[in-house]
């Protein structure tokens, strides 16, 4: 299979999530209808402070059923054509980071010998995932066809989404705040500050949803 098209993207902005990218694109060549390679290059300044390794076994079971309704009677009959089951182990790496791309004098407060570093709240990203292909187990009924690659990748993507959805429950953001202090305090110490004079604080970045919640609370209090 030959490479068909190459798109390279270079941007000088922060390398944050997909939503805030403003890439400029340059198409180099096109030989076929399918784009083969997309590469996005972005400059950024992110300090990764905490790493979580998460394991999940994605399971799927499908049963062929005759379902519907006849004369206002619902029908749900399991057909005797055999079940299919699959278990897919996935290992994922989640990393929390502090975005330093907008770091400026506004993030520093000095009072005599004391220094306070104000940081934005940590963000979490799924940086990699690995499907343990050797450990996948599937059971397929006699008259059923095996799982296709498309079905397997679809279940894997659902598993990945489930891992991302679980991030708030893992407590990774709180851990990241503490880790950032453990990384930054020794750094500032090297600049001549004493450990007890250094404070790392976090500035909550309000999103529209947070602001609406805040306004609602104020309204209720009247």
């Amino acid at each position: 299979m030959r490479f068909l098209a190459v798109v390279a993207v270079l941007s000088g902005s922060s390398c944050s999530g997909r939503g805030d990218r403003q890439p400029s694109e340059t198409a180099y060549q096109s030989v076929d209808t399918v784009p083969m390679l997309i590469m996005q290059i972005q400059k950024c300044s992110r300090l990764y402070t905490t790493e979580y390794k998460v394991h999940k076994i994605v399971t799927h079971e499908d049963v062929v059923k005759l379902q519907g309704a006849l004369l206002k009677q619902s029908i749900d009959i399991k057909l005797p054509v055999g079940d299919r089951k699959v278990a897919i182990p996935i290992d994922a790496t989640l990393k929390a980071y502090i975005d330093f791309s907008n770091f400026s004098e506004k993030n520093i407060e000095r009072h005599g010998q004391k220094i306070t570093i104000l940081l934005p709240d940590p963000k979490v990203e799924l940086t990699s995932s690995k499907v343990n292909q050797q450990e996948i187990r599937s059971f397929v009924g006699f008259v059923r066809s095996g799982f296709t690659d498309e079905e397997m990748t679809r279940y894997e993507r659902q598993g990945r989404e489930a891992i991302i959805q679980s991030i708030p429950r893992l407590g990774i953001v709180d851990m990241a705040r503490e880790s950032a202090a453990r990384v930054l305090v020794p750094m500032v110490q090297q600049m001549g500050y004493r450990e007890e004079d250094i404070t790392v604080a976090y500035r909550k970045e309000f999103k529209p949803f947070d602001v609406s919640k805040f306004l609602e609370i104020v309204g209720n209090g009247k």
Binding site: C15, R46, L71, M191
Partner: protein, 197 residues
């Protein structure tokens, strides 16, 4: 007499068949509430996520390269060839690992600061998001070993495309810019940023 009886039986059977067809047609197509079909669920089961390890890292990323690679494998057959084509996604992060800094990597004197950073490199060797992979084409039967080989092939290609001297230089240049900006914010006016060789 015998012929008449046979004809009557045929007519009755035909009528019954027509009535059955009409009833079925009425049930399935005229009544909006009536519908019957084969259903197969497509969602995954609810299983827990287990945390296997937690650790502090101090990786400062200065260049992010998001790459997607279409990788294929072909098995030659007697009459037809089997193909497996998948699209892999990965993000290579270039920067410095602060755990590799040497003692005294930040030296200050008055409003002068000298920062010596470790060499810029790939921060994490696991950069493929395999669970995001898309199946593009499949014919024939493929094993876990074949898929593992495709993963390694995608990894090699991503490294070859992303880990170029130009990208490493770009990451180093951005590290220089970002550290200067940060040190300026900390109140230093004369800033020197160097990298270990």
């Amino acid at each position: 007499m015998e012929n008449k009886r046979l004809n009557l039986q045929l007519i009755v059977k035909a009528l019954v068949l027509v009535v059955i067809i009409i009833v079925l047609w009425w049930l399935l197509f005229t009544e909006k509430d009536n519908h019957v079909g084969l259903e197969v669920n497509d969602s995954i089961g609810v299983t827990p996520e287990q945390i296997q390890s937690i650790r502090d890292v101090g990786e400062w990323e200065f260049l992010s390269i998001s790459d997607e690679e279409l990788v294929d494998t072909v098995r030659k057959g007697l009459f037809t060839d089997d193909h497996l084509v998948r699209i892999y996604y990965g993000t290579l992060r270039l920067g410095v690992d602060l755990r590799k800094t040497k003692k005294g990597w930040i030296k200050t004197q008055g409003d002068t600061v000298v920062v010596t950073l470790p060499k810029v490199g790939l921060l994490d060797k696991d950069f493929i998001d395999e669970a995001r992979t898309k199946a593009f084409y499949e014919s024939g039967k493929w094993t876990a070993r074949d898929r593992e080989a495709l993963y390694r092939k995608a990894r090699r290609r991503m490294l070859a495309h992303a880990l170029t001297p130009q990208n490493l230089q770009s990451a180093e240049d951005n590290a220089d810019v970002q550290f200067r900006r940060m040190m300026k914010a900390m109140g230093y006016n004369n800033i020197t940023v160097t990298f270990e060789k």
